[in-house]
């Protein structure tokens, strides 16, 4: 079906201008019946704008849209829906407190002659309809108990019940657990074989290769080109997205210090992690990986004091027993932490760059009666703005008004300001475009060379292999394997197998 010559969507010469920005510049876009086409590009490349034009949310300044060969002008959201184009957003449009069956029939529940809802029919019809799509689900489950992937499948199913032939899947902000990805992609592939076309928008390039037949690359509002995924490798794709030769960053191997900066001895929290013995050297970068729920994130969040830590075992920081209290103590003792969802947890958008950078070190910037020495603060901030290359008109600019990449750097400036001994990074490159990823990795590398011990919690194995000295794998709450990245036998495949618990 993927080779069908029948175009369900054709967009020709689309131009869309916003005040001061040309968001789309003469872009063509085509989608065949049963095709799974990915649209990729950096933030601001025009992906969302293109989809919003297709679904009638924005009106283009120029260009034509054809659905099943018929020109539609103007396109409206209502027409798009009626013509069979469905937009499955990253934020679920389902009602969490209702069951799967209720969500399917919402607004149009089968009723008996008295106008009372016929719940048996709701239940049976829902099962029947889902079965036709090859889904065997308990339809009485509440939507709030479903995983992200299950919700997306349900949304696609709902769209299909409404006779959609083209489904736009917007990226999930966080990568889905492996099991879920398999389930979602399996479903998408089955549906495509039955003739449904998908547009998949993603930052996770691995997923693009996993699921899509074809890829459309956008850059700065222009189309770079259409490709078959089998003709590209990931490095080429990154190159095409960024437009520059993005060099993959490899950490130059360093002679590791013999001094241990952090040590876990028999750290145990029943139900989360058990008998964790682990040590981190000065200047060492260790990748901590494992499946969702393997305990890796809980371990570093607990160490930083964000959730209850181990019930038994000891932590040594520079060979001294370290008691966990709260994040304030952790920072003051030399442990810094980068939260997972940086946009939500890392920055204070309504405050200036300067206040964000110095948040954790104000106690070092006060005089003997407790007043802030603003001059000292300014020097510190300007120093870090310079060092990390933060692009901002001034240090009093609100962080909200910076670009995503620069917001990232502000967070790193805050962390580095605390002069940590140990830096804990929770998914540092998640949801970040390729260019910014390399910059972040470089900053981490620099910090390690100043003697900071770094633990990176991540599932991006390739990145871990590039940057880490060592990779520690957790499986069901225990450290199951360790890999020396200098060892020739350490490959993405062997690490992946350990993560899945197969080795």
């Amino acid at each position: 079906m993927a080779n069908s010559e029948h175009y369900v969507i054709k967009m020709k010469d689309i131009v869309k201008t916003f005040p001061g920005v040309r968001a789309l510049n003469h872009v063509d876009f085509e989608l065949r019946k049963g095709e799974i086409r990915s649209v990729v590009g950096k933030n601001g490349a025009g992906k969302s704008t293109l989809m919003n034009v297709l679904t009638g949310i924005y009106q283009p300044d120029n260009g034509e849209i054809f659905v099943n060969g018929k020109m539609i002008k103007p396109m409206t959201t209502e027409k798009a829906r009626k013509l069979g184009i469905a937009y499955v957003h990253q934020h679920s449009q389902l009602v969490p407190a209702l069951s799967i069956a209720e969500n399917i029939f919402i607004g149009d529940l089968p009723k008996n002659d008295l106008g009372i809802v016929n719940w048996n029919k709701v239940h049976d019809e829902a099962i029947l309809q889902l079965k036709e799509l090859g889904l065997n689900i308990d339809v009485s489950r509440k939507v709030e108990n479903l995983s992200v992937a299950e919700k997306q499948i349900l949304e696609i199913a709902k769209a299909l019940f409404a006779n959609a032939h083209t489904i736009i899947l917007d990226e999930a902000t966080a990568p889905l657990p492996k099991e879920d990805v398999k389930m979602l992609f399996g479903f998408v592939k089955r549906m495509s074989e039955q003739g449904v076309a998908f547009i998949y928008i993603s930052h996770y390039l691995v997923e693009v290769f996993d699921i899509c037949n074809t890829v459309t690359i956008l850059r700065d509002g222009e189309k770079v080109g259409d490709f078959n995924t089998c003709d590209l490798d990931q490095q080429e794709l990154i190159h095409l997205i960024s437009g520059e030769k993005v060099e993959r960053f490899f950490r130059e191997k360093v002679e590791l210090s013999t001094e241990t900066v952090l040590e876990f001895r028999n750290i145990t929290k029943p139900g989360a992690y058990e008998f964790i013995n682990f040590s981190l050297k000065k200047g060492e970068i260790v990748g901590l990986t494992g499946l969702e729920g393997s305990g890796k994130a809980k371990l570093i969040r607990g160490l930083f004091g964000l959730e209850p830590f181990a019930e038994s075992g000891e932590v040594y920081l520079e060979n001294e027993l370290f008691y966990i209290k709260d994040s304030e103590k952790a920072i003051n003792q030399g442990i810094a932490y980068l939260p997972r969802d940086r946009h939500g947890l890392g920055i204070i958008g309504a405050r200036p760059v300067s206040e964000n950078i110095t948040l954790s070190i104000l106690r070092k910037l006060v005089n003997h009666i407790g007043f802030l020495i603003l001059k000292k603060e300014k020097i510190h901030v300007e120093d870090f703005v310079d060092k990390l290359g933060i692009k901002t008109p001034s240090s009093s600019q609100l962080v909200q008004f910076l670009s995503g990449g620069n917001q990232q750097k502000v967070v790193f400036a805050k962390l580095a300001s605390t002069e940590p001994k140990v830096l804990l990074l929770n998914e540092p490159t998640q949801g970040v475009d390729v260019q910014a990823k390399v910059e972040i990795i470089k900053i981490v590398d620099q910090l390690s060379r100043q003697g900071v011990g770094v633990i990176i919690v991540s599932e991006e194995i390739r990145e871990l292999l590039d940057i880490c000295d060592r990779i520690v794998v957790m499986f069901k709450g225990k450290i199951s394997r360790e890999f020396d990245t200098k060892n020739k036998n350490t490959t993405a495949e062997t690490v992946l197998m350990a993560i899945e618990g197969e080795a």
Binding site: L306, G349, A350, L359, L365
Partner: protein, 326 residues
Amino acid sequence: MKKRKIIITILDNLIWPLLLITIISFNFISDRFFTPFNLTNILIHSAVLGIMTVGQSFTLITGNFDLSSESTLAITALIGAWLILPSGQPNFGGDIFLPVWLAILVLLILGIVAGWINGFLITKLKMNNFIVTLAMQIVLRGFMLVISEGNTMAGLPDSYKFLGKNSLGPVPVSVLTMLIVFIIAHIIMQYTQFGRNLYAVGGNPSAALAGGVNPDKYTRYVYLISGLLAAISGWMLAGRTGVVVENMGAGMIFEIQAAAVIGGISLQGGRGTMIGAFGGVLLLSVIDSGLSLMRVSSFWIEIFSGLIILLATVIDAQKSKILSDN
């Protein structure tokens, strides 16, 4: 980008042109407005509102609010008087005859305790701040009625009225106190770690926590401050009017919030300055005085107050919209 920044700056400082226009307009309308006598009067009448607004601003900046402060003001004023005065008409006191200084100490502590309970319920028991402070408002008002039995307490000694009625030379003590409270609050917010942490907590509690600033701890502090300042206000208001009436401060919360928000303190937390809040207090006091001079019915003044709250909220909503657009 640039444009949004300019709009934010304008909205943040909108209070000053508003205040200027209001003063100029009243000056045209009434020749009794811009006189030393009336201006002093405005300041005297703004003192209680001013101190209450500082307390409220502390809570607003951390992303909270304190609906109970108007009742804290009332109950502390009442307890202070009750501890001093004899029972029976016209004093309706408690026959305790505490020394004035001790009664004042007790009422200040009482304010702090009320704030502590608010903070405890909100941060330790994770209760909703709207319900907690609203319930506290009702409970404290209820206690006040129980103790006073609805009577008006009168006959407060002059030493008790010092804060509300006396002057140091030409300067009323109440006005001076308000200015000092504003100056201290301004210094705290702009030049201390404590103030910065309050902004961080209100701007993004999760980011504050990840940065080593515990939002719960600072939330408890601001309710303590709000309670203490409400107690000072209660003492001051009782001194100025010389009596404690059962509906003292009732409904004042709206005026307080309006003053803070139109002065640029955001309801979303994390934004606004004490100087702006001071401007908001002046604007409300000026309008109140100007409309009275024009002999506008007090019912109309109510309507104006309501409209100012709406205006303040519209401006605040615009700001947060601009700040959240990306």
